[in-house]
Point group: C2
Chain length 508, copies 2
């Protein structure tokens, strides 16, 4: 490698880090918008974030980047596509070509609309008034279509939107994987519904004072390894993981004093995301090697801690006594098995973020189908609430009684996040595959969980997933870790095994 | 005015607004740094803020600005120096010429050092360990000297630093005004010390639960007009007013459960700053017409609400029953006059932010003299704690027993704010002059305060001060409002009148 090439690469890396600083500053503005921003500051915040997004986009499409790529992609630095420099150049070429297709004006308008859209969504949800949000949603969909057209596609207009969150995935492929999953899942859910046993979920609806929930959630996040020296936990209307990156990762949750699951499993979920962010190499801020590989992989980390760990019996073997101490009124007379069964209740429900492990993917399927239809123009915004309700009736057998509990429940569309939902189900699939591999590598994880020992699993994830950033694509990473391609089987095996015991199902 | 000139001016205004967006984003990063930032994020925050400061500085020194100024300063738009366009061009020329003298590298280093310096200061203060902070302070002073040299000066190296906060003021002039003030003040303080009566301050040291303090402080801030729809009140180690400008103004305070004054008067003080920020025209964000005219004028707003209003008997006529309701244990048996005398205790003390109205300016004088000596090189950092203690002994007759209560008490030097302190005393002088004029214009303010009616004074300040931004300089503004130049007499008259009654002094 010539000294010239090396200094050229250094200039490229500096450019990326500076862009990363802007993006992380924008991350703080976004976090603040959802946690502490006074309502009168919303318009200014939209303008600030739109301007910063525009600056970032200008830097991401700087022709100088193209020149650097032209020189460096033919150099030794690009020879190994999985080395830090090779991965950086490979990912950057993809991003650069993608970004150059997006007009500056469109990027700024979308960023600004995301802020005003979220504000309208919050108000619409509070007032249970879809009409208040509809005009902004229509505008958002128009712009997302424009974005998809600008990016170009062969199959579905939805493809380039999905590709933003799950690089390399096609709509048709995802539809196939989710169809396979559904085919295996529906019979299991039917078996469960037909079972004569069912948990007592009333115990989760007793009174759980907020302060106790905050203490327990924070302790659990800390126990699985979320680093509060480099992160925070706050309250927000819609829980999320954001902030400024590895050294300043901010997760949020929301408290319902009459429902245990919401904050506790929400916190574990976001802490799982947070562990991934904190596990990325912070010195690579702004570089592909310091970035998450895909949303599906990101989600695999949150779902692993929320479900595969947090809803396991061994986890509660250790944590249940602490929960009892925190909530004596609600839990003193409840034994571990009763509680464990309750947090694993399988039941068609209206709210995605509170759905159980088994039915969750049907919630995703509904959104995936609806947003394809919205983007494709086969469904009009005015007809969306009814389409939503009809699908819930068809797939889950229940119908929302209000839009606040129906089509207005998720922040995503208001923030312009189309193509995002299917990554949740991909995350569930990846998580089970990884958990299977971790068990093979580390031995009996349950014994460790019973002792409150989560470090082996966390460190394994650090080694196998977090530290690699985007050095491998999502599929490469899964192949590397598990030796197998993406499959719905490990998830189904996990669900079948767990619920056979809980619901006394025949395992034939 | 030609269409050409007009569109040129519009481009200039757009440029300034975009710079204002960056500055307001940086304002949020700074607010967050002092309220919610986890400690592990400090280095990243320093880098983010340094990078944004650099971007802002590059935009402020963009040669394009010089070209716009060359064209527009000779046009009709500049004809009236107090019109929005005239003031914009006049202030911008001053700022541009000033900014162009500062090397980009120096600006970025100072911004970064400000963050790490403040972190070191917090630690040093917690550990009462000046040595931990000394190397960073030395570095800061070296850079401030560099800054002063780069800006150029005729009189004292300190002049260009002072000019940053109080445009147009000279070190020698300020020294003279403060000397006049001291000459009038010292005999008054001596009279007070010789008085046989003295308030019972023990009542302020009783137990005041934090939640009650937070409620009362927030209610008072709201009552004087701080708009919580466009602002927040949070907790920070060193109280300040910051955030993103008129539409998102953030004030902070700190609570001491065994001292009433700290949070209550601190909140009133910051709310006074906040009223000024919220009263600036928000559509002029980034333009001189949307900016505060000087720190002295800014401080006049905080001191007016903290002291001239908040420490008046008429204010407590209305507020004392609320305080008694909030703190029955501490205040039930205390009558209004006893409480009023207690919050107006005059007594030499160690902590500036908790000093009384009369001795406060001596605290400023000490800092003003010390920082001139530090910048001038006559005083070394290693000798600073002893110099500090010696001056307290000389001017106030008391000696700090620890550096935490001495030289480490203020954040300013750690943040690179040299030349800032004297503006506090200028603020006291301006405030009294304005209050005199407001009384003349509005009639008996005390009657209004007794009824909890603060709107007339607030609206008068909006009209006479806030809405003008930088359309007039500080001296012009004072002349316009009061018909007189800067003077220490109104402040002295206020202090003499108030303390003569409280301490039973002869008024001869």
């Amino acid at each position: 490698m010539s000294a010239n090439t090396s200094s050229e690469y250094q200039r490229l890396a500096n450019h990326l880090r500076e862009t990363g600083l802007l993006a992380s500053a924008n991350g703080l503005l976004g976090w603040d918008q959802q946690t502490y921003l006074p309502s009168g500051g919303n318009n200014l915040r939209a303008e600030q974030m739109a301007y910063l997004s525009g600056l970032i986009h200008r830097r991401q499409t700087d022709p100088q980047l193209g020149q650097w790529l032209d020189t460096l992609c033919d150099s030794d630095l690009a020879a190994d596509p999985h080395s830090p420099s090779g991965a950086t150049l490979r990912c950057l070429r993809r991003d650069y070509e993608r970004n150059c297709k997006l007009p500056q004006q469109l990027v700024e308008t979308l960023a600004s609309l995301s802020v005003t859209g979220q504000q309208a969504w919050i108000e619409a949800r509070q007032q249970n008034n879809f009409a208040h949000f509809a005009p902004l949603l229509e505008q958002t969909i128009r712009l997302k279509r424009e974005q998809a057209e600008a990016l170009g596609f062969v199959g579905h207009l939805y493809d380039p939107l999905l590709d933003e969150y799950e690089p390399g995935q096609q709509t048709a492929q995802v539809a196939q994987v989710l169809a396979d999953l559904r085919e295996a899942l529906v019979p299991l859910i039917q078996q469960i519904e037909a079972s004569p046993v069912c948990p007592s979920t009333e115990i989760l609806r007793r009174r759980y004072p907020e302060a106790g929930q905050a203490r327990l959630g924070r302790a659990a996040a800390e126990a699985i390894g979320f680093d509060f020296q480099r992160g925070r936990l706050d309250v927000a209307e819609h829980p999320f993981c954001g902030g400024c990156g590895a050294d300043d990762t901010r997760i949020t949750t929301r408290y319902d004093e009459h429902y245990f699951n919401s904050a506790f499993f929400g916190t574990l979920h976001e802490a799982g995301h947070g562990l991934y962010e904190q596990g990325l190499p912070s010195e690579a801020l702004g570089l592909p090697t310091g970035e998450a590989v895909s949303l599906g992989i990101h989600e695999s980390q949150s779902r692993m801690w929320e479900n595969l760990v947090g809803r396991s019996r061994s986890f509660w073997e250790f944590w249940y006594p602490r929960a009892q101490t925190e909530f004596p009124e609600a839990l003193q007379a409840v034994d571990l098995d009763t509680f464990y069964f309750a947090v694993n209740d399988v039941r068609p429900s209206l709210i995605r973020v509170e759905a159980d492990e088994a039915t969750y993917n049907l919630h995703i399927l509904i959104r995936f189908e609806l947003e394809q239809a919205l983007v494709g123009g086969e469904l009009q915004v005015a007809d969306l609430p009814e389409a939503w309700n009809a699908k819930y009736e068809k797939y889950l057998g229940i119908r929302p009684s209000s839009d606040a509990d129906g089509v207005l429940q998720d922040v995503h569309w208001s923030a312009g996040l189309f193509g995002y939902f299917p990554t949740y189900s991909l995350g569930n699939l990846y998580a089970s595959q990884m958990f299977e591999a971790a068990t093979e590598a580390l031995g009996d994880l349950d014994t460790m969980f019973c002792q409150g020992n989560f470090a082996p699993l966390r460190d394994w994830l650090r080694r196998e997933v977090h530290r690699w950033g985007r050095c491998y694509s999502a599929s490469e990473l899964i192949e590397r870790i598990t030796g197998k391609p993406l499959s719905h089987e490990p998830l189904m095996q996990h669900l079948r095994g767990k619920f056979a015991v809980l619901y006394g199902l025949s395992t034939s």
